[in-house]
C-alpha cells in the first residue's frame, strides 16, 4: 500500500564520541550519544522524537541528515521503491541523496549568514545541485517563499530585517527549495513565542498536506510533539525506551519514564491539577550511564534485574507499540 510505504529505515544506529584523554585518565572515555537506535519513518508522516536535554535526540537527527557519520548501524532510504543504504554510497549517489533530506535548526537567529541576502542563502544550494539557470532558480526561490506565506520580494533583504518567526519560515522555505522527501526539524519552535509557535506548527502541517513531505520532528516539549506527530519515540540517555502512536502514547503509555514525562507537563487548564508523580534526581551523564536499564536509579518500579540487564525493545502483538522495560518481561501481550 502506498500509504504505509517506508521512507527511511534506521537500524541499530550508534554514535560514539571519544572523549579527550586527560593526563591521569586510565582509560579512554567514550560518550554514547546515540546507542543502538532503530526506527522507521513512513512516507508523508511525522515521526516525533522527544526527550530531555542530553538524551541524544539532536545527534540522532544529525546522523539522519549525515551531518554526523554514525559510528555503526544502517540507514536505508527509499528511492523510487528501492531501499538504498545511505552510509554505503559512492560520491555521486551520496551527493544526490543530500537533496532528499533537509534540516531545519532550532535557532533561526544563527542559521543565516548575516552578510548574505536571503537570495544568496537560497541560491547556493540550488547552484550546487544544478537546479536550472538563474531565472529558474529565482522562480524556485520565489515559489518556496510563497509556500511559507512570505512575499517573494523578501529575497532581496538581509536576515536581520526579519523577526524570529519569519526567519523560521525562511529556514523552512530554504529546506523546501530542494524538494526534499524528508525534513529533519530539530526543535523548530522552541526559540519562538507561543503565538508565533502556533503559526509555524500550522504552516508545517499545511505544507505536509500539500507536498506530502515527511518530518522527523525533534523536540523536548511533549505536548508539541504529540500534536504534530503520527508516531512518537521517547528517548532516554541515547536509547529509545518507547515508541507508539501519538494517541496511544497519551492514553496508554507503558514505560515508567514516559509516564513521568507525561505527568510532568503542566496542563494549561483550570481545575486539572498535575498528577503528583515527580521523578527524583537528575538525568545521569551519558559518559558514565547507569548499568542495566539506564533509567533504573530514577524508577519507582526498579527491580534487581533492572540494575544488571539492559531491557530489549519489544513490540506489543498486532501493533507498532514498542517498550523497553523489564516490567513487561512476562507480559503475554508482547511478541
Amino acid at each position: 500500500m502506498a500509504e504505509t510505504e517506508k521512507l527511511l529505515v534506521a537500524e541499530h544506529i550508534v554514535k560514539r564520541y571519544d572523549m579527550k584523554k586527560k593526563l591521569f585518565d586510565k582509560e579512554q572515555k567514550t560518550l554514547k550519544a546515540v546507542d543502538d537506535v532503530s526506527f522507521y519513518i513512513n512516507k508523508g508522516e511525522t515521526f516525533g522524537v522527544v526527550g530531555e536535554s542530553g538524551c541524544g535526540k539532536t545527534t540522532l537527527g544529525k546522523c539522519v541528515v549525515r551531518l554526523h557519520e554514525p559510528t555503526s548501524g544502517k540507514l536505508y532510504y527509499n528511492v523510487d521503491g528501492e531501499m538504498k543504504d545511505l552510509l554505503n554510497l559512492d560520491k555521486k549517489e551520496s551527493f544526490e541523496m543530500r537533496k532528499k533530506i533537509q534540516i531545519v535548526f532550532q535557532d533561526p537567529y544563527s542559521s543565516f549568514n548575516p552578510v548574505h541576502t536571503i537570495y544568496e542563502a537560497f541560491d547556493e544550494p540550488l547552484r550546487i545541485h544544478h537546479m536550472g539557470n538563474k531565472e529558474e532558480r529565482m522562480e524556485i526561490i520565489a515559489d518556496s517563499l510563497r509556500k511559507v506565506n512570505l512575499q517573494p520580494e523578501y529575497m532581496k533583504r538581509y536576515p536581520h530585517e526579519f523577526s524570529g518567526g519569519q526567519r523560521q519560515r525562511i529556514c523552512i522555505a530554504k529546506a523546501l527549495a530542494l524538494k526534499p522527501d524528508l525534513i529533519v526539524c530539530d526543535e523548530p519552535v522552541s526559540a519562538l513565542d507561543v503565538s508565533i509557535q502556533a503559526q509555524i506548527l500550522n504552516l508545517m502541517r499545511k505544507l505536509q498536506r500539500e507536498l506530502g513531505v515527511s518530518y522527523l520532528f525533534i523536540a523536548h516539549d511533549l505536548s508539541v510533539v504529540q500534536y504534530m506527530s503520527n508516531r512518537i519515540a521517547v528517548m532516554y540517555l541515547g536509547k529509545i525506551v518507547e515508541t507508539a502512536d501519538a494517541k496511544e502514547l497519551h492514553n496508554m503509555c507503558l514505560h515508567p519514564y514516559t509516564q513521568a514525562l507525561l505527568s510532568a507537563v503542566p496542563i494549561p487548564k483550570y481545575g486539572e491539577k498535575m498528577a503528583q508523580m515527580v521523578l527524583p534526581g537528575d538525568v545521569p551523564s551519558p559518559i558514565n550511564p547507569p548499568s542495566g536499564c539506564h533509567f533504573h536509579p530514577r524508577c519507582e518500579h526498579c527491580m534487581e534485574i533492572c540494575k544488571c540487564e539492559e531491557p530489549a525493545l519489544r513490540t506489543i502483538k498486532g501493533t507498532t507499540h514498542q517498550v523497553a522495560c523489564h516490567l513487561f518481561d512476562d507480559d503475554e501481550r508482547f511478541e
Binding site: 510532568a264 487548564k269 537528575d282 538525568v283
Partner: protein
C-alpha cells in the same frame, strides 16, 4: 484577615518604566497596575518583550542604568510596620538594600549564570543571611544546611563547600531558591524560574516552590510565558501585552471566562496533551511590534480578530467585572455603557 492588616502585600499602581537607548525612549512598562494578595501566587504571563521582567525588576529597583521608573507607585505592606513606597527610594539607597533579599527576594531565570563561579555555594547563601541577620558563621551554616536539606539537596554538609560548576542545572536552581528563601521573605519574585530546565526537573522545582509557599505563607509573583505553569501554580493572573496589563483576574476567571481577545488567543494557541491533532491551532497573526513603537490606540488592535475602527483611534480603559476581574479592551467598554 489578620487584625488590621491589609489583604494585599504589594500594590503596584500605574507603574511606568522607561529606557533611554541612544536618544530613543522605549516605554518598557507603561501604566501597569496589579495587586499581590498575602500568601497567594500571582502569575504574570506574556510573550517576550511584553515587559513582564521589567515590571518585576522595577519592583526591586533592579533596573539597568539606562532604565528608570517614570511614574507610579509600588506600595509594600509589611506584616509589621508602615507601608513603604518602594519606587521612591533610589536603586542604591540603604532602605531598598534592607528590603532586597530580606523582605522581597528574587529568583532569576538562568541558574547557570546567576551564581558566582568562584565562591562556594555555602558562602553565597550565608552572605545573604548574614547581611540581614546578626548571626555568627557557625549559626548561619546550621541554618543554611537545614534549608538545603529541606530543598532536597543530598549531603548538604558536603555540598555546602562545593562550587557551582559541581552542581547540575536543577540543583543550581535549588541553590538560587535557598538564597532567596533563607531570610524567610514575605514576597518572592520568580522570573521564569524553570525555563532553562528540563520538564521532569521543572516539575521538581515547581513542587518545591509550592511546598515552601504553603509552609512559610510566602506571597509569590511568578513570571512565565507558559500557560501550563500558570494553571498549575497561580491564584491570580495578570496577562501582559506591550507593557500593559490587558487582563487581570483569578485563575478561574482567566481560564474559564477569558474576556480579552489576546488572552483567549493565547490560551488556544498552545497544543494541549491529548488534544485532537486534526484541528489547526488558533494563531495570532503577525508578530509583536517593536518596543519603541508609539501607539495611538489599543496596542493589540493590529493583530486582533475583533478589532474595530475605534480600536486604532483611542486607548482602551479598564472595564471592571465582578470579583476584581478587569479587562483593558474597547469591546467591553461599550457593553457596560449600554
Amino acid at each position: 484577615m489578620e487584625n488590621t492588616l491589609n489583604e494585599n502585600v504589594l500594590e503596584v499602581k500605574d507603574l511606568q518604566t522607561r529606557f533611554r537607548v541612544q536618544k530613543r525612549v522605549v516605554n518598557a512598562v507603561s501604566g501597569v497596575t496589579f495587586e499581590l494578595k498575602r500568601g497567594k501566587v500571582l502569575g504574570i504571563v506574556g510573550e517576550s518583550g511584553c515587559g513582564k521582567s521589567v515590571t518585576a525588576h522595577s519592583v526591586l529597583q533592579l533596573l539597568p542604568k539606562v532604565g528608570h521608573i517614570e511614574n507610579g507607585s509600588v506600595m509594600y505592606y509589611p506584616k509589621d510596620g508602615e507601608p513603604i513606597d518602594l519606587s521612591k527610594y533610589g536603586p542604591k539607597s540603604k532602605e531598598i538594600r534592607k528590603i532586597r533579599g530580606k523582605d522581597i527576594s528574587m529568583i532569576f531565570q538562568d541558574p547557570m549564570t546567576t551564581l558566582n563561579p568562584v565562591y562556594t555555594i555555602g558562602d553565597q547563601i550565608v552572605e545573604n543571611l548574614r547581611k540581614h541577620e546578626k548571626l555568627t558563621k557557625t549559626e548561619a551554616k546550621v541554618r543554611v544546611i537545614e534549608l538545603l536539606k529541606k530543598l532536597g539537596i543530598p549531603n548538604p554538609e558536603i555540598r555546602f563547600n562545593e562550587y557551582p560548576h559541581q552542581f547540575s542545572g536543577g540543583m543550581k536552581q535549588r541553590v538560587m531558591i535557598a538564597i532567596a528563601m533563607i531570610c524567610n521573605p514575605e514576597i518572592l519574585i520568580a522570573d521564569e524560574p524553570t525555563t532553562a530546565l528540563d520538564v521532569t526537573i521543572q516539575a521538581q522545582i515547581l513542587g518545591l516552590m509550592r511546598s515552601l509557599q504553603e509552609e512559610h505563607g510566602t506571597s509569590i509573583i511568578l513570571i512565565t510565558h507558559n500557560m501550563g505553569i500558570v494553571a498549575q501554580m497561580c491564584d491570580d493572573v495578570a496577562v501582559m501585552y506591550m507593557g500593559r496589563v490587558v487582563e487581570f483576574g483569578t485563575l478561574k476567571q482567566i481560564f474559564t471566562e477569558p474576556k480579552h481577545p489576546y488572552t483567549t488567543a493565547l490560551l488556544r494557541s498552545v497544543p494541549v496533551l491529548g488534544m485532537d491533532s486534526d484541528e489547526d491551532l488558533e494563531t495570532i497573526e503577525g508578530s509583536t511590534p517593536d518596543a519603541s513603537t508609539v501607539f495611538k490606540g489599543c496596542e493589540f488592535a493590529e493583530r486582533c480578530k475583533e478589532a474595530r475602527p475605534e480600536c486604532f483611534k483611542r486607548f482602551p480603559k479598564d472595564t471592571f467585572f465582578e470579583d476584581g476581574h478587569r479587562v483593558r479592551c474597547i469591546l467591553y467598554e461599550e457593553n457596560e455603557n449600554g
